[in-house]
């Protein structure tokens, strides 16, 4: 449901940046989305196509790079990627863990002319 407000935000930010950089047309928008962000990537292009119709972003392809989750143990410094939220270090069993990637949710770049 809230992918709509997220898409509106993408359109607002990209339109601002396109204007700032004198782009006449935007062909591609690159997003980085962490596995932990909870966003349904597939819905974004769908909403985007509908609500970008009257903007210079019309027709742009949304390219989403998914970022896997990585955790680091604060006790033994072991770093590993994981496919589920699990705050237990597989190396030493400590719960003293920090997430070093997986929460990302940002616009990385736009491509246009």
């Amino acid at each position: 449901m809230h992918e709509l407000s997220i898409t509106e935000s993408i359109i607002k930010i990209c339109s601002e940046e396109a204007l700032k950089n004198n782009l006449k047309k935007v062909e591609e928008i690159r997003l980085k989305v962490g596995e932990l962000s909870g966003v349904v990537s597939e819905s974004i292009q769908y909403y985007f196509d509908i609500i970008s119709k009257d903007t210079i972003l019309k027709g742009a392809k949304i390219n989403i790079e998914k970022i896997s989750m990585e955790i680091q143990c604060k006790d033994c410094n072991h770093i590993c990627s994981t496919n589920r939220i699990n705050f237990c270090c597989p190396n030493c069993g400590s719960f003293n863990i920090k997430v070093i990637s997986g929460n990302e949710f940002y616009i990385d770049s736009i491509k246009g002319e």
Partner: protein, 223 residues
């Protein structure tokens, strides 16, 4: 031509979240975001919590629902300042909704503001709304597998309340499973139980809440 941007997509919400926290800290108001499934017992828990807090603190409530004013009327009958927030279909509340609704209260006459989020175990967890604490409610009849199925809610929460705890004997609810999985996704998760009919268990939560309020007040002074 490729142009590097690197801007947070949720920047609108993050900015707003910061503004709300700043305002609340200036006014000395502690805000609690209560989240959980529809029917999990959020309103009943909040009512019992208000009863425990109201002699000592001035409490206000924001009731968020997709439609209707049922819960706001219930809380209003207790003589507590309450504002109903209707999202008209949206599955969660955002910081902007809270910012818009805060002027409805006299912020100089509140110590604690409780937000009852939309009944939903998924989306509310994704949005910071200027709160100091996130409280997740999981009722016993919902089952002991929810941490595994909806991990984000329990990762983000500061405390988990097992509500309708008096029904434990009627359901095959493995409390140790919830605790173990909860600590896996969030080692700092504090777990309490509550019976919102008798008020059982809620004192423990109130003691913890008061410690958190003190801790954060001290922290605010240091900053």
């Amino acid at each position: 031509m490729e142009i590097k941007i690197v801007r947070q997509i949720m920047e609108w919400n993050e900015k707003c979240d910061d503004e709300i926290q700043k305002l609340l800290n200036e006014k000395g108001i502690f805000m609690i975001n209560v989240m959980g499934s529809p029917g999990g017992g959020k309103t009943s828990f909040i009512i019992k919590l208000i009863e425990k807090l109201r002699d000592k603190y001035r409490v206000g409530v924001i009731e968020a629902d997709i439609a209707g004013k049922l819960d706001a009327v219930t809380i209003g009958l207790m003589g507590i300042p309450v504002v109903q927030l209707n999202t008209e279909g949206a599955c969660h509340i955002e910081a902007m909704s809270i910012k818009k609704i805060l002027p409805e209260f006299n912020l100089d006459t509140l110590d604690i503001l409780i937000i009852e989020n939309i009944g939903n175990l998924v989306c509310p967890a994704e949005f910071e709304i200027g709160e100091h604490l996130k409280i997740a409610l999981l009722s016993i009849p919902e089952g002991d597998d929810k941490v595994e199925k909806y991990p984000l809610m329990f990762t983000k929460a500061d405390a988990l309340i097992l509500s309708k705890y008096d029904l434990k004997e009627y359901f095959n609810f493995d409390e140790r499973r919830v605790e173990a999985r909860g600590k896996e996704v969030n080692p700092n998760l504090q777990i309490f139980n509550a019976n919102s009919i008798t008020g059982g268990g809620i004192d423990n939560f109130v003691h913890w809440l008061e410690r958190e309020m003190d801790r954060r007040k001290v922290k605010a002074k240091e900053e």
